[in-house]
């Protein structure tokens, strides 16, 4: 056997080297895995249908023109009823004239 001809010190050395190599390889494997996954995602995002920014801007403009918005009375008119504008329920003021002490 080859190993029997070596001194016990070098065998130990060799084992240490093997261990560290295995560890490094495992890390490399993980790195490769991660890279592959990332590339997959990049490929996926290349597949996405994209429209031009000009088109999406125009769609947004159209959306704002089509949707009724009460906060823009200059475009959409005043709401028929504004619940926030409801008259405060206060007791009618009593003037001194209406109280007549008999």
């Amino acid at each position: 056997m080859q190993s029997s001809s070596q001194s016990p010190g070098s065998v130990l050395e060799l084992q240490k080297q093997l261990k560290s190599l295995v560890r490094v390889n495992r890390m490399k494997m993980m790195k490769l895995e991660r890279l592959k996954r990332y590339n997959e995602r990049l490929k996926e995002s290349l597949q996405i249908d994209r429209i031009k920014a000009s088109n999406s801007s125009l769609i947004i403009i159209d959306y704002t023109e089509r949707t009724k918005d009460f906060l823009l009375p200059s475009i959409w008119g005043k709401p028929e009823m504004n619940r926030f504008n409801a008259p405060k329920k206060t007791r009618p003021k009593q003037s001194s004239q209406c109280c007549v002490i008999m």
Partner: protein, 422 residues
């Protein structure tokens, strides 16, 4: 034997190196390809096409109808009930109040389990309110508000003991909860985002978490659900990125870089569900479009500062002396003199955009900044500032537009909530 194994491992190592090199090259190529495609798509901005908009706006004025007073600490977050009339406000005094915004009456009081509340949201059916805060738990309460009839609620039960209305306590985040929201149209599914870099989907009927979303490299600061699609939501983070998520996928579906060198602090979907706005700590807001996969508009802070200067809107950070020139600020002085220092601190803590919201059509963008107590009204299409809403004396922490688009509520660090409309 060992030397043989070593040689074998060496061989594997070499092979792996080669494969990694190939993958890295591929990655580089793909990235270049992708950025080229994205660059090609960016042929215009919203502002550059503004002349295609038939309806021009000059100024927008909103009237303040009510000031809701009742909290005795900063209002952290507010939310409309679906009836567009009742409103929930969560304050750092440890209480949650339900108000009738049309007359200013308090309808319900809920004592919070976590007094350090940061966010709240109301379910689609208006029955539940979810809160999150510094104690890392998302707590859901039942509200007893039903319909619109007057209802008197006492925090004390019939036997004098404190009534509790807990529905669920969701624990799972390892850090503070910065934002939460019910998914569009849902009354049971809640998404929370947290300082632990994750977002979690919870279900009140299931009584626990459904899935966790990892992908951000820093604290997640804000989230917004897609108003038209109950599966989609967007988050933004200290890592300067905004990520789009599908609740059925554990990894983000799209990523956008929202700021160059500062936190992306607020995110809000555009009402059509195809784009979203992201505000950052330098005060810049960008509008990202999902169909064209990129940003289509930028709203800088310079415009805001210019508008504020021309309209005598004093920045909050100014020294008390310079306040005296301004009527509005004079009133503000009285109430914030004491909290001046804390206000200063907090605006340093979290500069830039604090909150934003879109009007029903998306034409108006309402934004609050750390520098001003007024809410700015921006034309989303032209980028011009059309008006401001001045009435608070401290930073506005939350802006909400009611479901029908008629009412606007603003909650502020000056302890009050204001109700605005046309």
């Amino acid at each position: 034997m060992d030397s043989q194994a070593v040689a074998q491992q060496m061989e594997i190592s070499k092979l792996l190196n080669k494969q990694i090199n190939v993958a890295q090259m591929e990655c580089k190529n793909l990235t270049i390809q992708l950025s080229r495609i994205k660059q090609n798509g960016r042929d215009a901005t919203l502002q550059s096409l503004a002349n295609n908009c038939g309806q021009s706006l000059s100024t927008v004025n909103l009237r303040r109808y009510r000031t809701l007073k009742g909290h005795f600490d900063k209002v952290a977050d507010i939310a409309w009930l679906p009836d567009g009339r009742h409103i929930v406000s969560a304050s750092q005094d440890g209480f949650l109040l339900v108000w009738d915004s049309t007359n200013g009456f308090k309808k319900e009081l809920i004592e919070l389990d976590d007094p350090w509340v940061m966010c709240c949201d109301v379910s689609h059916d208006g029955r539940l309110v979810a809160t999150g805060g510094l104690e890392n738990a998302c707590i859901v309460y039942k509200m007893s508000i039903k319909g619109t009839g007057p209802q008197q609620q006492s925090p004390l039960g019939a036997d004098g003991s404190r009534k509790s209305s807990l529905l669920s306590v969701f624990k799972g985040h390892k850090e503070y909860i910065s934002g939460l929201s019910f998914l569009a149209g849902s009354s049971s599914q809640i998404v929370t985002c947290s300082g632990d870099r994750s977002s979690i989907l919870w279900d009140t009927t299931k009584g626990g978490q459904v899935s966790t979303f990892y992908g951000h490299l820093g604290d997640v600061l804000s989230l917004s659900p897609n108003p038209t699609d109950p599966n989609i939501f967007v988050t933004c983070s200290c890592d300067r990125r905004a990520l789009l998520w599908d609740k059925r996928s554990p990894v983000s579906v799209r990523r956008y870089v929202s700021a160059d060198n500062c936190d992306a602090s607020v995110v809000r979907f555009f009402p059509d569900g195809h784009s979203f706005a992201c505000g950052s700590d330098d005060g810049t807001i960008k509008l990202f479009d999902l169909r064209s996969d990129g940003d289509i508009a930028t709203y800088g802070i310079e415009n805001v500062r210019q508008y504020a200067m021309h309209n005598n809107i004093a920045p909050i950070l100014m020294s008390p002396k310079s306040f005296s020139s301004n009527e509005e600020a004079k009133i503000a002085m009285g109430s914030i003199a004491g909290s001046m220092e804390s206000s200063l601190e907090s605006s340093i803590d979290n500069p830039g955009v604090i909150s934003m919201s879109f009007s029903k059509s998306g034409r108006l963008m309402l934004t609050s900044y750390a520098e001003y107590s007024s809410v700015m009204i921006t034309d989303t299409i032209t980028g011009q500032i059309l008006g401001s809403m001045g009435g608070h004396s401290d930073v506005v922490s939350s802006i909400c537009v009611s479901d029908d688009g008629l009412g606007v509520a603003t909650g502020s660090r000056d302890y009050t909530v204001n109700i605005w409309s046309v």
